[in-house]
Amino acid sequence: MEQSFAGPAILVEGLTKSFGDVHALRGIDLSVPRGTVLGVLGPNGAGKTTAVRILTTLLRPDGGRALVEGHDVVREASAVRRSIGLAGQSAAIQIELTGRENLEIIGRLYHLGRAASKARATELLEQFDLTEAADRAAKTFSGGMQRRLDLAASLVGQPQVLFLDEPTTGLDPRSRLGMWEVIRSLVAGGTTLLLTTQYLDEADELADEIVVIDHGEVIAAGTSTELKGRVGGDVLEFTVPDRPRVGDAVAAVTKLAEGEPHIDEGTGVVSVPVGVNGSDALIQSVRSLDEAGIETSGLGLRRPSLDDVFLALTGHAAEEEDADTGGKRRRGRRKGQPEAEKAGRASS
């Protein structure tokens, strides 16, 4: 029966969950066909982790329903557990144990038997390029290696559906690219994947379909190309090295804008949606900025990125940090504020 089940690998209808007064999920719908990758994109506190926790049977929803491989996550939780793998936001490995021991223990807990557990561990260590380090304590691993080991652990049971909750959060750019490689090869093997991320480029790179979540609701869905089409046009972008003059620069180009200009406070990069009049806008902006006596660098036109999409959809940038989340990294587990505290995005 499991084999002949023909519906989507993941089906979510009207899912709601509240923690006290905080409405983490306000009725979301998702459908993920077999063998595809759904990217769930949203800022901190959007409800991404809550959705993953419900789909992996860790949390009971308040309303709606969720099916994984045709099994209800509440009523048939143990059947769901037999078909899924989960890698959460932190590497859920025991750092005192070796890479191999970590995987073998997981194998035993999947009831693979001693020999099969050993074989599976060796196979996964090979696949994730950890063979050389396999017999060292995992605490000697780099952050990227720990995350790869964690991902390997989520695959010990050969899941049909894999959930990755922010798999590259906190990784340096090189490890991040390494993770992408690994994830791509998994997907090529036919695994259905649900991936949450707050990185737009990550969703762009890995996902077949993207769902944008904000404040517990799906605010947009589609392919990366479809979502970019929503912005409809080019984006003028430049950097103002003399930071105090950023405001003047924005004022100088406001008349060209077809949408709200966006200033990245961290980098001083100004992005202005200019619609279809890209080249005209470019020429005029050079004049206006020159007349205002403002120096810029890297002035140019580009196709809209998912950042622009997010900005257009929500009115705020996707990767904007809340002022009150600058403290130490914690998993969003306190009742009442499920995701609000998981700051910890590596500063870029």
């Binding site: 860790l58 143990s78 037999r82 959460g88 932190s90 859920a92 999947y110 009831h111």
Partner: protein, 271 residues
């Protein structure tokens, strides 16, 4: 049609298989926990060296100032108290490990796997009980080296060790609940100090309660650690056992009945 509906889903294990898995998963988890314990020098210091230091300190530093009326003198009075405290303090490890596993997402992973739901807690208790038993035996050895003797026979001596272990398990259950409910390593540690130090030191463990001020005696005379240690002392040295033992058993059973379900519930809801 109804016959099909009540059949378990394909791949769902039967009752016997599930029971077998509950046992094997528990053993896997406890083996894993002991392996972790053996790899961390700090854990070994806390579980072995700390109680040994307590023995030496009370035997040679404070002991001379404490007058007791038991056969064999203060070292014989002290050892059942130290052993009770050692068993109770073993639960620090339980609470801290569970809080760490919760924070790192290890418990999330286990809960998302098709393993026995009881195994993480049961395996933790099995491993911690084993660890505690080893510590107790080492401390008894050190006690013998500094002059302690069981003077009531082998049977009661074994009974004393068993009672200490049950006290330890009861404390581990409380700690498992607090570790999972609080979920933050430092807070769990602080909370452990707040309840464990008073209940072990404000008891008959180290000094005769009659030397305490009256208001403190009222507490010390009526709290479970005192009952357990009085019973242990009776078993080790002779003297009245029955009264403190029944009270000790009643308390321990009470703790099991209250905290086992609380710990299980905290595990199921762990987030």
């Amino acid at each position: 049609m109804t016959a099909i509906a009540i059949q378990p889903a394909p791949g769902a294990p039967g009752l016997v298989t599930r029971a077998r898995w509950a046992v094997s998963d528990t053993l896997t988890i406890s083996k894993r926990n002991l392996l972790v314990w053996a790899r961390v020098p700090a854990y070994i210091v806390f579980t072995v060296i700390q109680p040994v230091m307590f023995v030496l300190m009370f035997r040679y530093v404070f002991g001379g100032a404490i007058k007791v009326n038991v056969p064999g003198g203060y070292v014989n009075f002290l050892m059942p108290g130290i052993l009770g405290q050692t068993a109770a303090f073993a639960c620090f490890g339980t609470a801290i490990s569970l809080a760490q596993e919760l924070k790192k997402g290890v418990i999330d992973r286990f809960r998302s796997m098709p393993m026995a739901r009881s195994a993480v807690l049961a395996g933790r208790l099995v491993a911690d009980t084993g660890r505690m038993t080893v510590t107790i035996l080492i401390v008894i050895g050190v006690g013998y080296a500094v002059g302690f003797r069981f003077i009531n026979g082998v049977g009661p001596a074994i009974g004393m060790v068993v009672l200490a272990i049950f006290l330890g398990i009861a404390c581990c259950l409380i700690a498992a609940f607090t570790g999972l409910a609080i979920g933050d390593e430092e807070s769990v540690q602080a909370f452990g100090l707040i309840w464990l130090f008073p209940v072990t030191f404000l008891s008959s463990a180290f000094v005769p309660i009659s030397t305490m001020p009256g208001w403190l005696q009222a507490f010390a005379n009526n709290q479970p650690i005192t009952f357990v240690i009085d019973a242990m002392r009776g078993m080790a040295l002779g003297g009245s056992i029955a009264t403190p033992l029944w009270k000790a058993i009643a308390w321990l059973v009470g703790i099991f009945v209250v905290f086992a379900p609380l710990a299980v519930r905290a595990y199921k809801r762990a987030a």
